[in-house]
Symmetry: C2
Subunit: 197 residues, 2 copies
């Protein structure tokens, strides 16, 4: 039972990967890049430290540029992050031999998040199972499990060595002459998993 | 990490119990009765066969009577089942020493189901974590895991030896002179877990 799990190296996607492995799945971690930076290497470090298989999936730079345009138009990143996550899930689901896909999205997330019709549509269009191990857990349960399992580094988004969409999105916004600090929330603490506790 | 898990002996609540145990929780199964029938004994059999601790929680008969009145008024059982499940969760959450509660509700369930505001309200009012291990799983994933794990008996609702709200609700409707077959869906297959595969 192989599952392809979108992985950023953060605590949510790491916890979800651990749950999948506890349920007996053979977990393949997949980190997205748009070829702009090599930030995926931080996710690879975390994956190796946790002992999971890991691969990098490159999506077209044009997708990131479209997302950057959304950020500039909206003055906030929500729609762009949602757009990129849906494209990442679809690209993964469309790959030959992929029967199960997964991510670390949570009950309390606003973006990225697929509501029930979108989740079912993804499963139906690509004939895959879409598994979200954290969906039924509240923040208290997630914190409890993360603290039990992982060594975590918590920092400002700008500083952390992470491999999520935000890193490349901030970079391309800067390239386009826009200050990411005016688009992303000011104090936004992000986490990176360093290894097992 | 003790969790009190509402348990009917069916495949959903059994699968959720298994997931909780795989995540390292000490799982206490709790079956609800309104003191009308001893249908809880089927859940106990399943719990014993799976090797989980099990207890019976008696709720007031008046709750069941109120639910029966809802069934008669609506001509269908949805609102009544939802009402009983919310009361069961609240009663469990209110017990001294209970920090985590859980159930086997699914992403694709209509009733019983707590939407996000209701789930958060339950957690806040009773200062508990509410864990739903199946919420992020679609029907395909649930079927795959159930088939791998359990010996399951599938029958018509009327015939199956189960311990869910429906059994006592049907009984009290009959007592009140109403035919449950006119309220519950005609062909309604239900499952009971017999043991590990």
């Amino acid at each position: 039972m192989k599952v392809y799990h979108l992985f950023s190296g953060g605590k949510d996607s790491s916890l979800a990967a651990w749950i999948l492995s506890r349920l007996g799945y053979e977990v393949k971690l997949v980190t997205v890049t748009f070829g702009v930076l090599d930030a995926w290497k931080y996710a690879r470090e975390t994956a190796e430290s946790l002992g999971f298989d890991h691969e990098v999936m490159e999506l077209p730079r044009g997708m990131l540029e479209r997302a950057a345009a959304m950020c500039i138009e909206d003055g906030r990143p929500g729609r762009a992050i949602q757009f990129l996550h849906e494209r990442a899930l679809e690209t993964l689901a469309a790959r030959r031999g992929v029967e199960r896909i997964s991510d670390g999205t949570r009950r309390d997330d606003r973006v990225p998040f697929l509501d029930l019709p979108k989740a079912r549509s993804l499963e139906d269009r690509f004939n895959v199972a879409y598994i979200r191990p954290l969906l039924g857990l509240g923040h208290r349960t997630i914190r409890e499990l993360v603290e039990k399992l992982f060594l975590v580094e918590i920092r400002e988004s700008e500083e952390i060595k992470k491999s999520d969409y935000e890193v490349e999105l901030r970079h391309i916004l800067r390239e386009l002459g826009h200050d990411p600090a005016r688009i992303f929330p000011k104090r936004h603490l992000q986490s990176r998993v360093l290894g097992w506790r």
